[in-house]
């Protein structure tokens, strides 16, 4: 469904992505793990063209483009089939939860307002936010905002939804409500690419885990295999450090 080939990206002299090959199949839930600075987020942002790649090709169903020379119009066409959930929610501050969800439908896709609102209510219900439809982002907690952001991302029925550390800005108490919604989407067969630090969630929900380090994909495997029998020394080291029962000394 999505195939990225030889993706390179540098910020100044800092090479963040060193030739990434990445594939997502229809209906797959992929967790992208790795320590901070390993290039996970940059990979996601390049795939959604929030960052311009220095080199690379992307195939997304019927679309096939060079990621450097791709036109603005082609980017727009591909984005119409993508959803994106940000670490910092990025809800439109001047719009209610409902409007945040309908704007992409009415303005970008010219869907009549009543129909868009019906869809939006349905989406808000799915993320458990239908009773907050008329609240503004500033009136919602972080977890609630992120759930609205998820409703916005899935409203136009995208073929894939990217999640960029969706729970990293939330306190532990609010993390659960967002992960629950994501699990529900995964169970419904939504194709998802999730950059996350939530190991347990990756283990429970993901079909496949991709582990990145230093701008390269070090290892990718089925979730079960990845956690139970990591192949690379670096992966093992990462899992040990991130695991809950890892003992540390103060």
């Amino acid at each position: 469904m999505i195939r990225v080939k030889n993706l390179h990206k540098s910020f100044g002299s800092n090479e963040v992505l060193k030739g990434i090959d990445f594939e997502v199949d229809n209906g797959e839930v992929i967790a992208v793990l790795g320590s901070s600075g390993s290039g996970k987020t940059t990979m996601l942002r390049c795939m959604s063209f929030l960052e311009k790649a220095d080199q690379g090709e992307i195939t997304f169903d019927e679309f096939h483009h060079d990621m450097v020379t791709i036109s603005r119009r082609d980017i727009h066409k591909m984005r119409m089939h993508m959803g994106f959930v940000f670490q910092s929610f990025n809800l439109f501050a001047n719009q209610t939860a409902l409007e945040n969800v309908t704007t992409g439908l009415t303005v970008a896709r010219k869907i009549p307002k009543p129909q868009a609102q019906e869809t939006a209510h349905e989406m808000l219900k799915k993320v458990g936010m239908e009773d907050r439809a008329l609240y503004y982002p500033a009136q919602l907690s972080g977890g609630q905002q992120q759930r609205v952001a998820i409703a916005r991302a899935i409203a136009a029925n995208p073929r894939v939804v990217f999640f960029d550390e969706p729970t990293s800005a939330l306190d532990p108490e609010l993390t659960g409500e967002v992960l629950d919604v994501m699990k529900k989407l995964a169970d419904e067969g939504t194709t998802m690419v999730i950059v996350t630090h939530e190991m347990q969630f990756a283990r429970d929900v993901a079909d496949k885990v991709v582990f990145m380090d230093g701008g390269s994909i070090i290892e990718q495997n089925g979730a079960k295999e990845f956690f139970e029998s990591p192949q690379q020394e670096r992966t093992l080291q990462f899992l040990r450090r991130s695991s809950k029962d890892y003992n540390y000394y103060i």
Binding site: S48, L50, H76, R79, M80, M82, G83, F84, F86, S88, F89, N90, L91, F92, A93, N94, Q95, T103, G104, V107, A108, R109, Y136, A138, Q139, A149, R152, A153, A156
Partner: protein
């Protein structure tokens, strides 16, 4: 108070108030409206980083902020006819005031747009919106609120700058004050009276600003 001076004040008041209402205020409002259109275009061109146009916008702002308003007005009204462009006094004043205020308001708008978190624009793109849709539906409604006090500043400033139009033969409030002062030989009284009327107009505007800001602060939170 001397009865003659009192009579002068009373008699000249309507003579100044009428051109204030008929000329100074419309001149200010029309120029301000035009300046907002200019400012919006200049700001968007810069935010969108359109090559060529962005540099042109910077050049425009550089010139209009860097030269005196009265020089700009003189170039348009007295200068342009010598290269064959004749513009009447009133349109020339509107053009000069709009172009100048446009340069300042453009900077206000640009800064306000840039104050809106970039993430909202990114989210807009990934929701399928294009640049202009993002600006219209998301960024400008928020930016205009930030820009509001500064834009209002510019409006109040324009009320007073509009008196420059008197120097290119427009009959507005200040030119009437000058005329009466010349006839009666009472410049102190007349110019003070003109100042008071300007102050009244600006006081009303300040009150309007307060009401508007209070309303703006209620929304979205």
């Amino acid at each position: 108070m001397d009865g003659r001076i009192f009579n002068l004040l009373v008699e000249s008041f309507p003579k100044m108030l009428v051109p204030c209402l008929k000329m100074t205020i419309p001149l200010t409002l029309i120029s301000f409206g035009c300046s907002l259109v200019i400012a919006l275009v200049l700001a968007l061109v810069q935010v969108a980083e359109i090559p060529g146009l962005k540099q042109l916008a910077r050049l425009y702002i550089w010139i209009f902020r860097g030269t005196p308003q009265i020089v700009q007005l003189y170039i348009i009204f007295y200068g342009l006819p010598s290269i064959g462009v004749m513009i009447d006094a009133l349109p020339a004043s509107i053009i000069a005031l709009s172009l100048n205020a446009g340069a300042y308001n453009a900077e206000t708008l640009r800064a306000s747009i840039q104050a809106i978190p970039k993430g909202q624009t990114e989210a807009g793109y990934l929701t399928g919106l294009n640049f202009l849709q993002i600006m219209r539906k998301i960024v400008l409604p928020q930016a205009s609120r930030i820009a509001f006090p500064q834009l209002f500043n510019s409006l109040i400033s324009l009320v007073k700058t509009s008196s420059l139009a008197s120097s290119v033969t427009v009959i507005e409030m200040f030119s009437v004050a000058k005329k009466i002062a010349g006839i009666t030989f009472e410049p102190f009284i007349l110019y003070c009276e003109a100042a008071v009327i300007y102050l009244m107009v600006c006081t009303i505007l300040t009150l309007v600003q307060d009401v508007c800001e209070k309303r703006l602060n209620i929304a979205w939170s």
